[in-house]
């Protein structure tokens, strides 16, 4: 909204109604270009502050002079940032003049100023906590501008020779690539602390903003490929646990996003039980129409189930998500049928995609289940002993290692060393997929009479 009397009216109404979302719309950069132009042209650098001060003073009854000053500053900086954004928009539309300037970097920097003005407002100028939506808007766009600035710099191949490089013993060109996003993470972390460490009573606290900012941070960490750094955020939120509002009191969207990220972090650390719990929460809370989000959750939840409970997704579930079906179905079929060699091939086939999604190492462990199913087939194929008088027939529990070896090399037609087969069998026994023992002297596996393959009914 351009800075005229209408602006003061809007601000004053939003302020008296304590409508954070309405107020946040006055600090958004997400406007059509002509609207931005109107804002930019409505004032000039010389008079903007006095204009804002007069207008806000006349229209809004601030409890505090500090607060007035704070808002004047926020809007003055916002106005300036709009100017930079316009420069960036104009020159990025204008392809042929690959300007020597990093316009988005400047837009990012101007927007950082806005974040700082806003944070100062919360820390020094007694901004009310319901206005936290403004902080959401500013933070969200800060991240967008940071990514644009990084893309711009990388595509133009700017050599950034910042003096700090001189002081290091080694250099790392990689760090420059996502320089602005890294800076953005630092800025967001400041915002996170301003929210998280507010000690006001809960109803007036900025702690309500913690999860929104935390989610932005988590997203950024993932983008930076440093999901491990997210631990700090999780720890900080955990440590402040009892002073925080109840997690269920936060907006559902924030809960789901947070649980998803928490789940994926646990997943990457192979803490599958915790990952399963978080992802299940996210799954249950996810909006029914958010197909993309549900697909993301399932991408990790399905491998989780494979590990924790050795269960495969039903075909009905996968039908709803064609991409997941393509991703998982071949593997699932091989596991189910105990086709060891085909499993290897399917894993190889999808390797690139699995690795990209960071699920390869988890899915690879599905081989154990495929192997278990194969061995189980060998066991059942041997049939039962002659039943004794009046007793239930019992399965033949003594299986030569050579039979297992034959089964394992059936698919690939490659001969396998008996010692290696024993090693695989030992693993099955050790991991609890199979009950029994190997007798090396006799080249025999002696399986348990009751439940040789736990959980499979034999």
């Amino acid at each position: 909204m351009d800075f005229s009397t209408a602006f003061f009216q809007e601000f004053s109404e939003a302020y008296s109604e304590r409508d954070g979302y309405r107020l946040a719309r006055t600090v958004t950069p997400d406007l059509p270009t002509d609207k931005l132009w109107k804002i930019w042209k409505s004032q000039n650098a010389h008079s903007i502050r006095s204009f804002l001060k007069r207008g806000l003073q006349g229209n809004v009854a601030f409890a505090d002079h500090e607060e007035l000053q704070g808002w004047v500053e926020v809007y003055a900086v916002y106005w300036n940032a709009v100017g930079e954004i316009l420069v960036a928009l104009v020159s990025s539309n204008d392809d042929k003049s690959k300007s020597s300037e990093l316009v988005w970097t400047r837009a990012y920097q101007a927007w950082t100023e806005l974040l700082n003005a806003l944070l100062r407002g919360y820390q020094n100028s007694k901004f009310k906590n319901w206005t936290i939506i403004c902080l959401y808007t500013v933070c969200k766009h800060l991240r967008i501008f940071a990514m644009k600035a990084d893309d711009e710099r990388n595509s133009n191949n700017f050599v950034d020779d910042s003096p700090a490089v001189n002081f290091q013993d080694d250099f790392d060109p990689e760090t420059n690539k996502r320089q602005k996003l890294e800076d953005c993470v630092r800025q967001l972390f400041k915002a996170f602390n301003v929210c998280q460490q507010d000690r006001a009573a809960l109803e007036e606290s900025r702690k309500w903003g913690s999860y929104y900012i935390a989610n932005l941070l988590l997203k950024s960490y993932f983008k930076l490929n440093s999901a491990s750094l997210s631990k700090n955020i999780l720890k900080s939120l955990h440590a402040g646990g009892k002073d925080m509002p109840d997690f269920s009191a936060f907006p559902k969207s924030q809960q789901v996003t947070f649980k998803y990220h928490e789940g994926v972090i646990a997943f990457l650390e192979e803490n599958y039980a915790h990952a399963e719990a978080c992802l299940t929460d996210a799954w249950n809370g996810c909006h029914k129409d958010a197909a993309k989000n549900k697909e993301l959750i399932l991408t990790y939840l399905i491998p989780c189930h494979l590990i924790t409970s050795h269960t495969l997704p039903t075909e009905a579930l996968m039908k709803q998500y064609p991409r997941l079906q393509k991703l998982f179905l071949p593997l699932c079929r091989c596991i189910k049928r105990g086709e060891l060699h085909k499993f290897d091939l399917a894993l190889q086939e999808g390797e690139d995609e699995f690795v990209r999604r960071r699920i390869y190492l988890t899915l690879e462990r599905g081989r154990d289940i495929a192997l278990r199913n194969l061995l189980r087939k060998v066991f059942t194929a041997r049939g039962v002993e002659e039943a004794k008088e009046g007793e239930k027939p019992v399965r033949r529990t003594r299986v030569p290692v050579a039979e297992f070896a034959a089964a394992i090399s059936l698919g690939s037609q490659e001969k396998i060393d008996i010692d290696e087969v024993e090693c695989l069998l030992a693993n099955m026994i050790y991991k609890g997929f199979m009950k029994g023992y190997i007798s090396r002297q006799h080249g025999m596996v002696v399986l348990s009479k009751s439940g040789a393959f736990p959980g499979t009914g034999v």
């Binding site: 003096p163 990457l268 069998l425 190997i438």
Partner: protein
């Protein structure tokens, strides 16, 4: 040869086949898989044949100047070289200089001193960038023109501007040049102007001493050392410096150009911008590397070598030298660190190497990618391992060393210790040094498996073979070390391992071995 390494061939012979293609004097020991577990890393390394290779060149005091003279590279501008040092300036450069001083081209507003400074700056820069021979000197703007342009630009910056454009000149192409000029000036103010350059030997030499500057704005230029200062003052006068100060960081932010001529230098962490006279330029560092390779072979003094390599890496970094030589330095340091089990230092090199290879520099990327994977297996860093896998291309996956590392990973992930120990016995390059670090814990894991799965007993020989112990004795020792006295039984000449009685004997040790992976400098 050490008695504990009976199978290893003489390492001198081995090393010459490994990497002989990349450099003449390899500075690492090629390694056979170490058959003995639990041997400490401080055991003396196999000695090298010395005399024939390094006899003459290893005199302890090769003076820096001697070496500099032997090198066929021109010295940097600021270095105080004896006048007779012959520098072979290309003809095109000579023509360029001559062209600048043709009377028709002279500009009355540009003093001779300014021209000479500019010339020196232009040529030195071209030399440092290594484009001396490739630049089209005939098309190069003359120094007087450059100076005039600079002045015009400086004037421009003085004019009032819209805030949105105020910083634009900071990105102008001219500024960078100026920075390095400042640097060269600040680096060696006296020696630089005292150095006689070839182009001063021409007919212009006398004039410049007497200085018939048609423009008398400056004080009489009696000492050549004042030329630069005067020039600077002139620029300041025109407002160039004031505008620049406001917009860019201090002028010293370009890469340093080293002038230090010592081969050896102790490593010190920088706390301020490095001084050029304490930084060795690349052509000296090349000498240093050769020296260090020899030293390493001769003395095997790791703390000395590591320190020297660190200072070398630092010198390269501050000068922003990122070329194949840089790669070589990091590769060699990484191999030496690996050999000595200094994982912290190794890891730093590895991180750098990854970045350097990414720049497209040649080296042994596959060898080090393989190490990288093995390293992440050792540190059990799932996230990084995932990232490393994601970075691999199809061609890399087929590389022998990388494929080996991937197979190791897969074998361990599936608990296939049989396969793992086969791979351990057949490790390319120096990967065995890395595998040595986790083979102990994998033996424990395998032992746990065996104890759970095999009933009553197995021959000790089976354990020896499956877990690649060098002898039954060593296998027995391993079992005894973990409290398995009760589990070994001599049965008519065959030692049996009573797996049935082991229960969970090795579980504690196994859990402990897997929990303790803490390495300094880990990413």
């Amino acid at each position: 040869m050490l008695p504990t390494w009976p199978a290893a061939p003489p390492s001198g012979a081995q090393s010459s086949t490994g990497y002989a293609t990349s450099y003449s004097a390899p500075a690492y020991t090629a390694v056979q898989v170490r058959q003995s577990f639990g041997q400490s890393y401080s055991t003396p390394q196999p000695s090298y044949p010395l005399a024939h290779t390094y006899g003459p060149s290893h005199s302890p005091s090769p003076s820096a100047v001697d070496i500099a003279r032997n090198v066929n590279l021109p010295p940097p501008a600021a270095a105080s070289e004896p006048a007779k040092t012959k520098i072979d300036w290309p003809d095109s450069v000579r023509r360029y200089v001559q062209r600048a001083f043709i009377p028709a081209n002279l500009d009355s507003s540009v003093t001779r001193a300014e021209m000479e400074t500019k010339l020196k700056e232009t040529i030195t820069q071209a030399n440092e960038k290594g484009v001396l021979n490739t630049l089209d000197w005939d098309m190069m703007p003359l120094p007087q023109h450059m100076i005039r342009e600079e002045r015009a630009r400086a004037l421009l910056t003085l004019q009032p501007k819209q805030p949105a454009q105020a910083q634009a000149p900071a990105h102008a192409p001219g500024t960078k040049k100026r920075k390095s000029w400042d640097l060269a000036d600040g680096a060696a103010p006296t020696s630089s102007s005292a150095t006689p350059y070839p182009w001063r030997n021409g007919p212009g030499r006398l004039e410049h001493r007497v200085s018939f500057s048609p423009d008398k704005r400056d004080e009489p230029l009696k000492q050549s050392s004042k030329f630069n200062r005067a020039d600077k003052r002139l620029k300041r006068h025109e407002g160039e410096y004031t505008t620049q100060r406001e917009e860019t960081p201090p002028p010293l932010d370009g890469p340093v150009v080293g002038t230090c001529q010592n081969l050896e230098k102790r490593f010190l962490r920088l706390t301020a911008a490095p001084k050029p006279d304490q930084v060795r330029p690349p052509y000296i560092l090349r000498q240093t590397l050769e020296l260090l390779k020899k030293r390493w072979k001769k003395d095997q003094n790791y703390s000395y070598i590591c320190d020297q390599f660190k200072s070398m890496r630092q010198d390269l970094t501050v000068q922003r030298v990122r070329d194949e030589f840089t790669v070589e330095v990091y590769e060699i340091h990484a191999r030496i660190a690996l050999e000595k089990g200094d994982l912290g230092e190794y890891n730093q090199c590895q991180t750098q190497l990854k970045a350097l290879y990414k720049l497209g520099l040649k080296g042994k990327p596959n060898e080090f990618t393989a190490y990288r994977i093995l390293y992440f297996i050792h540190t059990a860093n799932r996230t990084e391992l995932n990232n490393a896998l994601a970075d691999l291309t199809a061609a890399e996956k087929k590389d022998k060393a990388i494929k080996h590392a991937l197979d190791v990973r897969s074998a361990l992930a599936l608990g296939n210790y049989h396969r793992f120990f086969q791979l351990y016995n057949d490790t390319p390059n120096m990967g065995a040094y890395l595998m040595d670090m986790f083979v102990g814990r994998e033996r424990l894991a395998a032992l746990c498996n065996i104890c759970r799965a095999y009933k009553t007993d197995v021959p000790l020989r089976f354990v020896t073979e499956e877990l690649y112990f060098e002898s039954d004795l060593e296998a027995a020792q391993f079992i005894l070390d973990h409290g398995g006295q009760e589990l070994l039984q001599d049965r008519g000449g065959t030692v049996m391992f009573l797996t049935g009685k082991a229960n969970n004997l090795f579980e504690g040790a196994r859990a402990k071995a897997f929990s303790r992976v803490d390495i300094k400098g880990q990413i």
